[in-house]
């Protein structure tokens, strides 16, 4: 992927992270539920999915910055 496309992709992913972490109707919907999915509460799954998305976005951004020569002199 070229550098510009990558910058947009990382930016979009960061924005997505911010949105899912902060958008109230999303966490209201999840927060009302007391149901379990695979033995885990829905609200825990929500928080863990947001957390994993943020983590993966940083790892991806660093990998792409390295591959695109962002750090080379």
């Amino acid at each position: 992927m070229n550098k510009t496309k990558n910058i947009y992709l990382v930016g979009a992913w960061f924005l997505f992270n911010t949105f899912v972490a902060l958008f109230p109707p999303l966490y209201w919907a999840v927060g009302k539920s007391t149901g379990f999915v695979f033995g885990l509460p829905a609200s825990l799954i929500y928080f863990m999915m947001v957390s994993v998305s943020i983590t993966l976005s940083i790892l991806y951004a660093y990998r792409q910055d390295t591959l695109n020569g962002e750090f080379s002199s």
């Binding site: 992270n17 972490a21 927060g31 009302k32 007391t34 033995g39 609200s43 825990l44 943020i54 790892l59």
Partner: protein, 491 residues
């Protein structure tokens, strides 16, 4: 008691031995204040974590997970968003730091806005806001020593012991400066977050296997998030996460981590190293706290959950290790706070108005650290009933630095008038709202005073950016700063 204190003594002796081996250098104030910008990604990552997650994580947030359940996960989300912000800021902040020999957060404000006085204002807000948290950190050590002494010490005796230990530790912070802080953070961080995480995972396994606890054992109310009908208000979670993520970088001792790295690559790599560690550590802690809340022994003593479960599962040895982990986490936070404050006193307050040479800057910085250590030690031994309220007030105030800080880094248009007015108005609004409503604004749908003030802060900054255009010379200067970032190579 010999077992628990013995384990901690071994840790402390090893730490002192590491610190003693660090070579002292006073060739420049940059060496003393930011360790000559010489640290690679691994040191940066651990130093960030050790400053970010204080010992209170195990007590306050472990306790919150046990008492209140899933809402405690807001700390995980904002901690990870903070690393995302670090990734975004790494290039401009490091490049400007290197090019203009920036050593403190107020240095960046002064550079970006071309103002001397903004340095003083930012420094005063940072220093004053940090003191209640420093005192709380020292008192938390007292709680730990009380538990570790197996009840043979009173709370007052335990606080005094905690203060003595942390004050002794500061001898090396004062002597060595930033290099000592970062190198010791690496050692302390390995213990606090690698051993700590291993212990947390082990304790979760113990609760599941030996005690038969699962999420199904918890009261369903522990899984709800405050929504439109809640007493906290519909925007409560948003407010906590937003102010937590933005506010993190407003603390001078966190921000200075951006200047200690040896390059943008190291800084970004440190984010990539720190974030999985942060995820696993913090998620483990909160899951541990939630499950442990079911144990009858934890009962109402939720803030002691880390010690109670460690002792129940692994006896005195695990209790000693639990205390050591908490001590390691606390030290990283307190050292960072004291070091950054000392640098600010010399660089941003006195050095802002008097021409000081390297030796004078270092001496003033050391005296500042010594004075702050003594002041915080003295305050920690006093009964201060309003201390926690003061700490909350300080937090709502300091996050007002976020607007001129982040908009200044990413938007060329802002000017010094907007920056000074926005953070000053934001600070005043936050303090007035907090003092008036004591953290519960009935008309704000769950927003905290700091979050409401941030809104006012942004409006003031943006309006003044348009109402008072930058002069041609200022526009050219700021343009050159941003071009330096867009062309930045060799990093």
């Amino acid at each position: 008691m010999i077992v628990t204190f013995g384990i901690m003594l071994i840790f402390f002796a090893a730490l002192i031995s590491i610190l003693q081996r660090i070579k002292l250098s006073d060739k420049s104030f940059s060496n003393y204040a930011v360790g000559d910008r010489s640290f690679g990604a691994r040191y940066q990552a651990m130093s960030f974590l050790n400053t970010w997650y204080p010992g209170a994580m195990f007590t306050a947030f472990g306790g919150m997970a046990a008492a209140s359940g899933i809402i405690s996960f807001y700390v995980l989300i904002y901690s990870l968003l903070t690393v995302m912000l670090m990734y975004m800021m790494a290039k401009p902040v490091w490049l400007w730091g290197k090019a203009f020999d920036l050593k403190t957060q107020p240095d960046l404000f002064a550079l970006r806005y071309g103002s001397t006085h903004i340095r003083t204002i930012a420094a005063i807000i940072g220093i004053i806001s940090g003191i209640p948290w420093l005192v709380l950190g020292m008192q938390a050590l007292g709680e730990m020593f009380k538990y570790i002494s197996l009840g043979s010490m009173t709370f007052s005796q335990a606080v005094i012991l905690g203060v003595i230990v942390i004050a002794i530790r500061q001898i090396w912070t004062v002597r060595i400066g930033m290099k000592g802080v970062v190198i010791s953070d690496f050692y302390q961080g390995m213990l606090a977050y690698l051993l700590g995480t291993a212990m947390l995972i082990g304790l979760i396994g113990w609760m599941v296997v030996s005690k038969g606890i699962s999420f199904a054992s918890l009261d369903p109310s522990k899984f709800t998030i405050p929504g439109p009908d809640s007493k906290e208000g519909p925007l409560f979670l948003l407010s906590l996460i937003l102010t937590g993520a933005l506010g993190g970088w407003c603390w001078p001792y966190i921000f200075v981590r951006l200047f200690t790295s040896n390059g943008v690559r190291s800084l970004k790599k440190s984010a990539a190293l720190a974030i999985p560690l942060s995820l696993v550590f913090c998620a483990s802690l909160l899951i541990f706290g939630m499950l442990a809340g079911v144990l009858p022994s934890v009962g109402q003593s939720t803030n002691d959950v880390w010690f109670i479960v460690s002792r129940e599962a692994g006896g005195l040895i695990l209790l000693g290790l639990a205390g050591t982990v908490l001590l390691a986490a606390t030290m990283g936070h307190i050292d960072g706070n004291i070091q950054a404050t000392g640098s600010q006193i010399a660089n941003d307050l006195i050095g802002n108005y008097f021409k000081l040479n390297t030796r004078q800057l270092i001496v003033i910085s050391k005296l500042g650290m010594l004075g702050l250590t003594l002041l915080a030690s003295w305050l920690s031994c006093l009964e201060l009933p309003a201390l926690y309220s003061l700490a909350v007030l300080a937090y709502q105030g300091i996050i007002q630095l976020a607007v001129p800080q982040f908009l200044g880094i990413f938007w060329e248009r802002g000017n010094k008038y907007g920056a000074i007015a926005s953070m000053s108005v934001g600070f005043i609004v936050a303090v007035v709202l907090e003092l008036t409503y004591h953290g519960n604004l009935p008309w704000a749908w769950g927003l905290t005073s700091g979050a409401v003030a941030l809104g006012v802060n942004v409006i003031v900054y943006v309006v003044l950016a348009y109402l008072i255009p930058q002069s041609h010379a200022e526009k050219t200067r700021v343009r050159a700063l941003f071009e330096m970032v867009s062309q930045g190579k060799g990093i």
